[in-house]
Symmetry: none
DNA sequence: TTTTGAATGGTACTGAGTACCGGCAATGCC
DNA sequence: GGCATTGCCGGTACTCAGTACCATTCAAAA
């Protein structure tokens, strides 16, 4: 057990140093030296300094891709909800490592941005899958696919962050519940929940203002006369 | 007209060079030289090489913040939908410039990532606004706020990208329609737990009836007991 | 005329990331 | 054993973004 792989030592060294003196204050040279390897070796194992924190996003993305490709029956949203569980489970498996990473990304803007970009890749994958699955090239279906993908990802992130913060004793149950919530947002396989042409959408809210003062706003929302 | 400001010349030079030889192949030195200024001056006007493409995201973000702060009546979602229109209008005002930027971000990964990060900032702002507005600290309300923010942003991006690609002759109408769609996703009381006495409660639902036909019923409901 | 201040340009530095080369095992085959 | 191949490693040198600092210029204000 005397020698973990160079890759593992690099990751370990990086986390220790980032904790000790902060991310920006740590150079790649520092990490390599601490791990007892050359600088070149660092870049052989990790594409960039940020990469040492997020080693297997690519692998995970591929996992999701495969899972979606192997999806059987059910709706697109169900398949995607199912796939997104995998991501959550992956983080939970990482356990403490995921929490340390979260602590880092919360502090360092560059890392947070990297995380956001990764999440966007998942969302894109989902959007494309849903769009393909629906096979409906209309503008409305396209928007719907976009909304679905965004909702699934948002729900996942919500539960994940809660767990990372230690606020969620049972993230699996929570993500299932959240996914049910998302599914409930999009009723019906294809058809939009609109009655006939000329249907009316009314919004419910509470305000201190008088009803008549609200009428113009209401009318605009409903789509009578587009108002600028 | 002999001398546009250094800032403008830099932006102009950057776009020309990016078109000519690509983003990565263009150095900051190239841009500065072409604009006839020193390298230092470039970084005085733009924080980074990427910044010259996205000059006023910060300003726009502040604009949105102000708009949300000044919001009058309506639900949180309505306020946010309203604010997001501003963003779309800003892009439309930019016109061809926005399209050139889109062409660049489509080709250059680094720029696309930058764009994604910017979008995430809007989404965060919206989420916080909705969350504050709801004033409901439960987990379920928090998830709801997250979903709403994600949906609004997704819908906006959808319309924006369509317009940028030249697929949308009337993006304003489309964004209004898309926002109605988003509103329809989130029915039920989004009311704050506390409202002043004598306030007005309105409920959101979809019906096949004409709005004017509904008005008497609405008034009766509102006039009597605030109903959920 | 003098002073002040803002915009500029130049120089030098840090640090990430890339390219390339040479060394050094371990494994293969003859 | 001798020998070539392959894969991992370390070192050097380079490019370029971004920062820090200083000197200059020029114009408005005093």
């Amino acid at each position: 057990m005397s020698k973990p792989t160079a890759r593992a030592r690099l990751a370990q060294a990086a986390f220790v140093l980032f904790d000790e003196r902060g991310y920006e204050q740590t150079t790649v040279d520092d990490i390599a030296e601490r791990a007892g390897v050359g600088r070149t070796t660092f870049f052989r194992h990790y594409r960039s300094k940020e990469d040492v924190i997020f080693p297997d996003h690519d692998r995970l993305l591929q996992l999701i891709r495969d899972r979606l490709a192997a999806t059987g029956n059910g709706t697109a949203l169900v398949a995607v909800s199912d796939a997104v569980r995998l991501v959550l489970l992956h983080y939970i498996d990482e356990g403490d490592l995921a929490r340390r990473r979260y602590a880092l990304t919360s502090k360092v803007p560059a890392l947070r941005e990297r995380e956001i970009v990764s999440v966007a890749r998942y969302q894109r994958l989902f959007r494309e899958f849903i769009s393909d699955w629906m096979g409906d090239p209309t503008e409305s279906a396209s928007l719907r696919a976009e909304l679905m993908a965004a909702s699934v990802v948002a729900a996942h992130n919500h539960v994940l962050r809660r767990w990372l913060r230690g606020d969620s004793p049972d993230p699996i149950a929570e993500v299932d519940e959240a996914m049910r919530e998302v599914l409930a947002l999009f009723p019906g396989p294809q058809s939009r929940p609109r009655a006939a042409d000329g249907g009316t959408t009314v919004a419910v809210f509470r305000t201190g203002e008088d009803f008549d003062a609200l009428l113009p706003t209401l009318r605009r929302l409903i789509g009578g006369e587009p108002e600028r």
